[in-house]
Symmetry: D2
Subunit: 357 residues, 4 copies
């Protein structure tokens, strides 16, 4: 169960301390121009060590394509790629072989598989998301040909949040600071919050907002694979995610129907809605308005402080982890959120292609 | 794209005003005893007209099985079933043939398919969820053999919410009132809120909480198909759902890692956690604790009052819908939430079966 | 595992002596005009009792559509249908409850499921192929819009075979006789052979040839899902089939490459090949030439004569089956072969539309 | 569409003259001991240059695993692997950029994708089968834990064939000669035939027989995914295959039912059949007898002689290919046939474990 998508499918592989991580993209249309520099730039947005508020592990994370691209274009055959693991300090983890770290996947992997790669989380490491960012960068290049843009930004860190909606923000400012928050003032507070967490040997979570523009009406499947259901599925599959909402979301449960309904209007550019509580999706299918959603990330579980837990012999033990870890994953998760959204959209674009013979 | 599940698969069919709705369950193990009375009782929890706060449409909704069950047990072959449509007043909808109702799927279906069954929402009607409840009832009977119970209840309606967590409630009280809220005092307020909305020709939304007990450690797939990602996908595919969170959810984004981490303890019954912010799932795999989650439902879009919208010729028109509609779907959505959760769990149970040769 | 197809998917249900057999077609494009009379006429080609050389069981086999068709066109939603079981003499089979009939599926079903519907073969009955013929008839109507025709005929019965290739025959004569052989002289001999087998309380097999015209170059997937691999898979899934070959087939293994290669020529209508040993498929993808293939059917296992076998208690027993059975399935299998081929082709047509941005 | 299998899934990648070929195996159970030497030895049976009757291209074809194996056992996570391309003489192919070689996939790829990697066949090269042999070797190691053995041998080359059935042969002799025919006398004639074809700048085809022993009753899905349908699908997806039959096959169409039926007998080891025209499969499900089948391979299309064809501008041209090619693929195809069969069987083994609560 390591494949994502229906027509445009990513199959991902790799453990954090194995040879590398990567994947195969199957189902890409042929003839799509691929810009390797763009793909690498997306990976660079995800990579560790990119700023003072992320982990200081230095992972070059250069992507190498093994197939499926020829003379700069997709062949229509499987696009395989690998990012080699290089800066692994496997020694850091030898002490954890027999430990179940709190709120990690050590215990559940052991129960599921009877056996696990205990080095740095193995398959449960967020290093796996490299494959998603590479595939997402390919997906973005297809979407751009259709005029679709996928953007995300950090909208809250711990208790610091942007009070404005995405419409009131200049999203081109997102990459202008290391926390990827398009509101510079709030960004500064978020950075301070993350730095304080780091000094406290603690971690903080937050919320990422995603915005998708340019989707024409008609993408999405109306029953189980509603466009927002596939988006939610994609987001909830990202490490540390605890919740997803789109459009009016949980707040919408407190609105009356008479307020929540989006009134259709007819103008020069066809049909639009006066408000957009629907989040660009009605009956599971895009209606041409902006699609927007929020993704909740918990504070990550790796704490550089003493903690109680149990070992594989069920004895109580005390651990005191060392190593280089993010006090907050949000800044690096922004390209992952965008990538997963792009994978969903390109898949629904291809599903919708020629639905009408 | 009308199939749900990987091993245990429901394929659903039916429009609200066609011959009937139903489905095929493929991938059920053989030899499972099936109690038709239980399945019917689940359908009765979903059916319209069951109380004064639901639509007064009277739909008998008797399920008829066509295959896959023999001498009271599953054969291992496809289980097909149908619930015939009976109380349709198609005439109610003829006026809507050329109208795009606000926040409905009329416009998006037209854009997707170029053509639609305009009678009562057709495929976009929540009547489709009948298939999910039947399949969920079969899934529940398999899960009970493994000691797994799936329960849900209404935890908020509009701005009225239960302040207690599921652990502080007696969930056996859920079916004791027509709103399906296990806190009798809050239930009474919810009922009044819904009745007031009905009198106002308005609608209200709310939140349903799901609780799953008895899942052993090891169910779930660690990457894209994390157990909570599949649960979220299932919930977001239900009509009117705007959000999903599990465990600490969105509130967890404001906790520090040092508080959020669930400390493992070792006791007589093996490993447990002192707290359960993880919501019973770590790294996408069940850890043996209770699984709990919340699902946000918007106020439904059908308002029995005058509204502005556009027609298929893009002219502004005023509509004033008549008919029999729910002012609040939450009470009837409880068995749907349970059913979708049961489908996810039985699928992951079967996926995990013999993962170890 | 009762679903066939990737984009255009048939999920089939039903036991021979349950309520009915039928299926759900999911993934049909919307707006396709559907002619119910054509579908029924296809079913009539398959149904028992249609001539003196088929079983004399009279099964009306009227198809009833429950969803997915509105105002004579496909909605793009699931098309579900059922054919009710009517002429079942379950009593005929009560004596077989504890018997494993030779070369039937009784023993293997019991081993697989631990339990079976012993009445008339249950799910293993060729009555299940009704679902394929209905879905195939829908597929044919889509293919005709693209100029693709699928035809099949009986090319051998036991040791009587047409010596000519499909190109030397007038396929419009196929339906002109009860054995569905387009060579009238050979047809007469086949009918006599089948009648003799019936008198002998024996059964005979044979070969059906399929011919597909009008497929443009470019349909098919080049690795596992080669167009001929999907065709072969489809045919081998039909009851009683023992072999499949396309183009030069097994005889091609005795040709030299210098003879077998199909030379390309360029003419007014573009590229063609001088010969067609490739059977219209090169590298798994259609090349625009006719696609042709052969399907081997064994003599069916139900013999109306005394036979030795064992019962479920592993005792040796003698059976002497009664009832109404075909001495030769070939004539009724012609529409089944066509239907399965049509399902494969419409699926690859839709797959190929997804390859174009 | 580059994924094979349902539970145990191989996704394959690679062009003949790209960086490498390989794949990802997803869905393997965890804890399976993996012997890399065995996998390499299987690859060595497939590799070019292994004897005087195969192509003299020297491809080291060393497999490198990137993930999914830890401490010598499968982790249950995706097993990815690559075999780097090394001995490519891309220059050999530059002249073929604008040519459609007869009976190759050049023309059909161009039509499907609008664009192709013209170097050495690209994705249509049989070099892709490396991925299948690696995955098949993993599958074989799982099957051995269940007592299942998969073997294949060359049973005919051009018009030279073994007259004996597999039961009359000593299959341990298969690897004793370079043509992989277990009948030494026939093997010698086959070798001479292939050498003569090489001298004639021609090619020859033939038949490979597969034999699977040790499968317990109950594997296989009874409708579309009959065990033999999946086997046939697997075989027909191998390059150059034109036909598949199992058990009595095409010859069985000329037998009477009274002869063809396999009589059940009950003995010390349970139920067996006196004959095995069923080929070990009844109703699509294994019955515990040996499974055997035949696969027809055409003479390959690459001829080292002058031939007429057309180019991409639709002009008639003469080509005269050079290079190092096999006059007969049969000897190297034996491990490919075994591998595809092993993939099918391990998948059905895992499917069947999901049928048991």
């Amino acid at each position: 169960m390591n494949t994502f998508g229906k027509i445009f499918r990513l199959t991902s592989f790799g453990e954090s301390h194995g040879r590398g991580v990567g994947g195969i993209i199957d189902g890409s249309p042929s003839g799509i121009p691929i810009d390797p520099a763009f793909i690498q730039s997306e990976l660079d947005r995800r990579k560790p060590g990119q700023s003072r508020i992320t982990t200081q592990r230095m992972e070059g994370d250069q992507v190498e394509f093994l197939s499926g691209i020829f003379e700069g274009k997709t062949l229509g055959t499987p696009i395989s790629f690998v990012v080699w693991n290089k800066d692994q300090h496997s020694g850091d983890y030898s002490g954890l072989k027999d430990i179940y770290r709190p709120s990690h996947a050590d215990y559940t992997y052991q129960q599921k598989y009877g056996f696990r790669d205990y080095r740095g989380g193995g398959r449960s490491s967020a290093r796996e998301t490299i494959a998603r960012v590479v595939a997402g960068a390919v997906a973005k290049q297809i979407l751009r040909l259709k005029g679709v843009e996928v953007r995300a930004y950090v909208s809250s860190v711990h208790d610091i949040e942007i009070k404005k909606s995405y419409k009131e923000l200049d999203l081109s400012l997102t990459e202008g600071n290391i926390v990827r928050c398009p509101d510079p003032e709030t960004a500064q507070k978020m950075i301070e919050c993350i730095e304080q967490a780091g000094r406290d040997h603690d971690t903080v979570g937050g919320v990422i907002t995603g915005v998708i523009t340019g989707v024409p009406p008609g993408w999405g499947e109306p029953v189980f694979n509603k466009l927002h259901a596939d988006l939610g599925f994609a987001m909830l599959g990202i490490n540390a995610v605890k919740g997803f909402e789109y459009g009016s979301g949980f707040a919408g449960t407190r609105m009356k129907g008479s307020v929540h309904n989006d009134v259709f209007i007819s103008g020069e550019k066809g049909i639009h809605t006066l408000t957009n509580h629907s989040g660009g999706i009605q009956g599971g299918i895009s209606n041409g308005e902006d699609i927007y959603f929020k993704v909740a990330f918990k504070p990550i579980a790796t704490l550089l402080r003493e903690q109680q837990t149990v070992d594989t012999s069920l004895r109580q033990v005390t651990i005191n982890p060392r190593g280089r870890h993010d006090p907050c994953v949000l800044p690096r998760a922004v390209p992952i959120v965008e990538s997963m959204a792009a994978l969903v959209l390109v898949d629904h674009y291809l599903l919708q292609t020629r639905n009408i013979v």
